[in-house]
Every structure is written in structure tokens, then in C-alpha cells.
Subunit: 153 residues, 2 copies
DNA sequence: TGACTCATGTCAGTAGTCTGACATACGGTG
DNA sequence: CACCGTATGTCAGACTACTGACATGAGTCA
């Protein structure tokens, strides 16, 4: 079965393992959010707004790792549901600062608790030092990927 | 814009950082695969087949972290393009063992080299020990998420 | 002032993935 | 043998997120 050919060794490839971990986390979050009638992006948007009130559509999109077009569709839906609110006119520029409503805050509370349990379960076998180490490693990876690769066609 | 906001809980949440890292890697891979006319799942499928020839549709789906329905659509497309080949009838059960064609192998070579560069760039600032540590941490997380939470619903 | 650049919000069309459903094949157990 | 549970391949419809496009507002610079 295992032929060390060219390409990437799947069992040791950090790229593959990163995707595997993210996929597992995604599934676990979906499993707890779906019964609440929420998608992951839906939850992410609410969580972002709770921690950073007044974020614009584009800023929310970047924070939730989707395009601003996708976030815009979601925001319109959340607005109709009365979970968030945006001013009719932009106070400055074109950006519309978004805020959670009380209803949105209540919905987020339930979801946030569920997601926190998922994350705690993921980290159940890691002590504090290991978690710090993992933060450091992930941050280094993110920086390296995001920064200019210097030389590539 | 309202920049300058100090990072809050989000910046220390390992779940969020995991998603951020995976998203950055995803974008970087997309950026190099798109010019080759390939999607990430397309590449993943070919890479899996190179290392584990004879994988079935369902096995490929699990390996690429998509549903078997999605992989089936992709496989039919790859088959039409002459990149993979499947027997008309299953030798045993219903599973159809899939194999790369020479054309598929050639296309994979180019893509694999590009993806390897992306992964190496991601790990540019990590030494061997740190990479091993990261493998260990990710594997622990995957196991914890996947295993039964053994708690209340 | 006017031209240029950049970021934003939004509309429309497209593509990839998902859920639901059904038929088929194997392995157990009565 | 018949029955049941599990796994697979596949078709169809629905959904989510994406790319492309356009207009608006703010900042820069000559």
C-alpha cells in the first residue's frame, strides 16, 4: 500500500494534518450548532460582533474567513432575523458598523457555550504549556504563509 | 476603518487559530493550483491515489475530507479528463478501485511540486523539533475531537 | 480642483459541496 | 436459508460560498 513515491507523505505532512484537524473541528462545531439552527459562519459572525462591536461587513468577512459578498448575504439574513442591526447610512465612508441586538446576544450565549465545550474537548489532553506551544506554532505558520513568499513565479 | 482594536479572546482561542491557519493554507494552495486548472479537492484526490493506489470513491472522500457524493462528482470529471480510471464492475462488493493514469500522474507532478513549496514556505520558520512537536499536538487534537466526548448530549 | 487609488457595499451568475434518497453487495445471526 | 445492519455507488435537488461587476466614499497627489 505505502509507496514512498514523489509528492507529500500524507501521514507526516503538516499541511494535511492541519486540514485534518480543521476538518474535525469543523464537523464537531457543525454537530452542536446545527441543532441550534445556526451555521458556523453564522456563529462566527455573532461571536466577532460580541467581542468587537461595530465591525463592518468587510471586517467581519475577514474575521470569519469568507468573502465580503458571502458575509453580506449572511448579514442581511441576520438583520431580517433581528439578531444584528446596521444603520441605514454610513457615518463615515461606506462602512456600516454592525451591532448585536439583545436577541442576537441571547442566541450567541447558547451557541458560544456549546462551541466552548467543543474546543475544551479538543484540548482535553493538552496541558497549559502545550496549548501555549501550539498557539506559538500556529501563529508562526500563519505569519509565514501570509507573508510574501519572496521568490515564486 | 476601525483598526487598532486590541485583540481579545479570539486571538488566543486555539479553535480560531486553527481555522485561521487552515484558511491561510487553503488560500495559498488555491493560489498555486488555480493557474494549473485544479481545485484543492482535485489535487487531494490525485495525491491520495498516488500514495494509495486502488482507493475507492468512499475512501478517497474520507481522505479528502468531503462527502462521498462530492468525491463521486469529482471522480466522474477526472475520469472524463482521462486522469484516473475505474473498472466498469466492482471486483468485490461495490467498491471500485481507482487508479491514476499516466496523464494523471504527470498533472500531479506539477501540482505536487507547487503544493510542496507552499508547505515548505509555511514551515520556513520552524526547525525539525518544532515540526515534530506540531505533528504531535495536532494528532492529539484530532484524536480528542474524533473520539467520543463521553459526556452528556 | 480633478484624476487616481483604494476600500467598501451590493447585485448577479457560477461552482463546489452538502443532504436526501435509492439500489446493490457483503457479513453476521437467528 | 432468511433477516438485518452496514457500507458503497450514484442520482437529484438545495444550499453555501465564490468570482465578476458596478457604484460610492475617502484619501493622495499634482
Amino acid at each position: 500500500m505505502s509507496q514512498g513515491e514523489p509528492g507529500i507523505e500524507l501521514d507526516t505532512s503538516l499541511g494535511y494534518m492541519l486540514k485534518a484537524a480543521a476538518s474535525a473541528l469543523h464537523s464537531a462545531m457543525e454537530a452542536v450548532l446545527s441543532p441550534l439552527g445556526m451555521t458556523i459562519t453564522h456563529y462566527s459572525c455573532l461571536e466577532l460582533l460580541a467581542q468587537r462591536p461595530g465591525l463592518s461587513n468587510s471586517e467581519l468577512a475577514r474575521g470569519a474567513f469568507v468573502t465580503r459578498q458571502s458575509m453580506n448575504v449572511l448579514l442581511q439574513s441576520l438583520e431580517r432575523q433581528g439578531l444584528v442591526i446596521r444603520p441605514a447610512r454610513a457615518p463615515v465612508g461606506r462602512a456600516l458598523p454592525t451591532e448585536l441586538t439583545d436577541l442576537g446576544r441571547r442566541q450567541l450565549e447558547v451557541a458560544s457555550a456549546a462551541v466552548r465545550r467543543v474546543e475544551q474537548n479538543m484540548l482535553a489532553d493538552l496541558d497549559t504549556d502545550e496549548q501555549d506551544q501550539m498557539r506559538r506554532l500556529l501563529r508562526t505558520c500563519i505569519t509565514s504563509i501570509t507573508e510574501p513568499p519572496a521568490s515564486t513565479t
